[in-house]
């Protein structure tokens, strides 16, 4: 009883904070997305649904599809690469765990822009990777690696991998090692143990990590911009262009809402399917 008041108070302050800095700006963007484009980037307050109709343009559809494909692939690779690392971290001794955690976190001390730009130096014709491969005699001439789909993809995986690893570590730590032993005692192979024990039990980690990786890579702007050479337009690039180049804020806002709506829809569908399976 005595703790009820502080709980309410902290809920209220969190509510006010979210309302002021999340809900109000969101409503503002929604309002803008219904307005018309002013001649010089300003807004003309003439209500229209035209901006949302433009989302149905096949051109926009192609860009949505490409971004979803990249984000999906990034999430899958992050999961595949992140799981073994997360497993090692979760099962390591305390000191090792701390050390590994620090190693995963250290890159975050550096600005994301700088970390992405470092990949430009790695991928360049006279960059680290080409120099190394040529020195080893594996390449005669520098391979063109910068400004390709591959360089964008590597940049995305690199940038968001920790977001996958950390939730997975938490999830795997909760799985008792005795369950693994039990599986082996029952003559499960390594693969079977992984499929029937580790994978289902670490699902919450995969879901949390998947969301944390998928959503930011869907709207990623810096990575396609720096490592993609402006070749292939992605959603983040398109939204940036509408705001800062085309001076079409209403359409940019509608795009942001379209993106958010699609993600929410996906989330809802995913939630339903996983709940359905759990309850059955």
């Amino acid at each position: 009883m005595s703790s009820a008041f502080p709980v309410k108070l902290s809920l209220l302050s969190a509510g006010i904070f979210l309302g002021l800095f999340f809900l109000v700006p969101l409503l503002l963007i929604f309002g803008v997305s219904l307005a018309s484009r002013g001649m010089y980037g300003g807004l003309a307050w003439i209500a229209t649904s035209e901006n949302y109709q433009r989302l149905l343009d096949p051109l926009v559809g192609t860009i949505f599809l490409r971004s979803f494909l990249f984000a999906g692939l990034t999430t899958m690779v992050c999961a595949a690469v992140g799981f073994p690392l997360a497993y090692c971290m979760a099962r390591a001794s305390r000191q090792w765990q701390l050390l590994l955690l620090i190693l995963v976190m250290i890159p975050f001390w550096t600005n994301f822009l700088v970390r992405t730009y470092a990949w430009v130096l790695i991928f360049r014709a006279d960059g680290i990777l080409n120099t190394l491969l040529m020195r080893l005699g594996l390449l005669e001439e520098p391979l063109s690696m910068l400004f390709t789909d591959v360089s964008v993809f590597v940049g995305l995986v690199y940038g968001y991998l920790p977001f996958m690893v950390l939730p997975l570590v938490v999830a795997i730590e909760r799985i008792s090692p005795q369950l693994e032993e039990a599986a082996f005692d029952l003559y499960a192979s390594m693969g079977a143990m992984f499929r029937h024990v580790l994978l289902p039990l670490s699902k919450p980690g995969f879901i949390a990590g998947g969301v944390l990786v998928f959503i930011p890579s869907l709207g990623a702007f810096i990575t396609p911009y720096l490592l993609g050479g402006g070749q292939k337009m992605m959603l983040g690039t398109l939204i940036q262009q509408e705001f800062l180049v085309s001076r079409d804020w209403p359409f940019g806002s509608a795009l942001s809402f379209g993106l958010m709506g699609t993600v929410l829809l996906l989330w809802f569908l995913l939630g339903r399917t996983s709940y359905g399976r759990d309850s059955s």
Partner: protein, 355 residues
């Protein structure tokens, strides 16, 4: 091996540089500066010579705070959304016209800016502001082709050089829809300010043909790509090419015979500035012959002050990336605001980028 070391060193030093850069930009000089009047100068990211600013601060007993933007649209967006507090801004030609029409710029009192009389003749009575009511040209330059003469042995004479399959994958274009379409329109014989949807469509098809040859669309990396040898032909602004030449002497700059964009960035005072007199004094100072000479030497941009040219060292004066050859000037075109036709450009640009 050296190269590798350099790259490694960069990797190690980059974070430090960022931290250093941050603390530096929060500027400036001595403590207890609060009583001194402060001038807020909002300009392009590579446009400030710290020495020039420091001299002004010392001479007038004021503080100058410098902040930077990287595109005209960013400048407009910031000023429009009311995040002002800036006094002096540096819009490019067409943007100075737009901002003037929108009432964002203060009318200049030219008697406070006597150095306006020294403007280059081709920078007087420009269409976007013929009487210098709102803006005065500061630096000017051109858009052309930067190329690596070690590889591109035949100097390009036409924009068509950027369609040469021989250099596939080693060509970069500016990441700027108006400049890229302007180039294609010029190559097709149209004005770069065309508002004809069919001309824009033709330009788009031409650019789609070119796209497989293009390594990158970039406005801020092409100079480094040229230096690194990653690209050998770059659709480029002159200034960065001139600076790239210092690192790789085989880099050259040429303006194709079809002509292209000529631009000028203008000094202007925001209508909302509380320090109008000081702001105009600062503009006059920046346009002063000695100050402009020093700035031009450092930044390798051509000054709008006509006396500067003759006093520059020959290697800068004769560098076409800084000062274009005189006979090409009549073929250069100012970029104008295309009003509603920008929709055609936006659409065509997105279609090009989706390919």
């Amino acid at each position: 091996m050296n190269n590798m070391k350099m790259v490694l060193r960069c990797l190690v030093l980059l974070p430090l540089a960022v931290i250093g850069g941050c603390s530096e930009s929060s500027t400036s000089s001595d403590s207890n500066t609060s009583s001194r009047p402060t001038l807020y100068y909002f300009t392009w990211s590579d446009y400030v010579d710290p020495e020039v600013v420091a001299k002004f601060e010392a001479a007038r007993g004021v503080r100058v705070v410098v902040d930077s933007f990287s595109s005209n649209e960013e400048l407009l967006a910031k000023v429009q959304t009311g995040m002002t507090g800036y006094d002096v801004v540096v819009p490019s030609d067409f943007m100075a016209g737009i901002m003037g029409r929108l009432g964002l710029l203060a009318e200049l009192e030219l008697e406070r800016i006597p150095n306006v009389r020294d403007l280059e003749s081709h920078l007087q009575e420009l269409p976007f502001d013929p009487t210098n009511r709102f803006s005065i040209p500061y630096f000017w330059g051109t858009v052309g082709i930067g190329y690596n003469a070690d590889v591109v042995t035949e100097p390009p004479t036409s924009w068509e050089a950027l369609w040469d399959p021989q250099f596939s994958g080693r060509i970069s274009m500016l990441n700027d829809e108006r400049e890229v379409f302007g180039l294609a329109l010029r190559a097709l014989g149209y004005s770069l300010n065309s508002v004809d949807p069919q001309a824009i469509q033709q330009a788009k098809h031409k650019l789609i043909v070119q796209k497989p040859l293009v390594k990158a669309y970039t406005s801020d990396q092409f100079d480094q790509l040229l230096v690194a040898g990653e690209v050998v032909l770059a659709h480029a602004w002159g200034g960065p090419v001139a600076r790239a030449m210092r690192e790789r002497p085989s880099i050259r700059y040429v303006i194709p015979q079809e002509g292209g964009t000529i631009w000028t960035d203008c000094l202007a005072v925001l209508a909302s500035s509380p320090n109008q007199a000081l702001a105009m004094d600062f503009i006059n100072y920046l346009l002063d012959e000695e100050v402009a000479l020093l700035t031009s030497k450092r930044l390798l941009f051509a000054s709008a002050n006509r006396h500067v040219r003759d006093r520059l060292p020959a290697n800068i004066r004769d560098n076409h990336a800084v000062y274009p050859p005189g006979d090409i000037l009549p073929r250069m075109e100012w970029m104008e605001d295309v009003q509603d036709a920008i929709r055609y450009y936006d659409r065509a640009w997105t279609e090009l980028k989706v390919q």
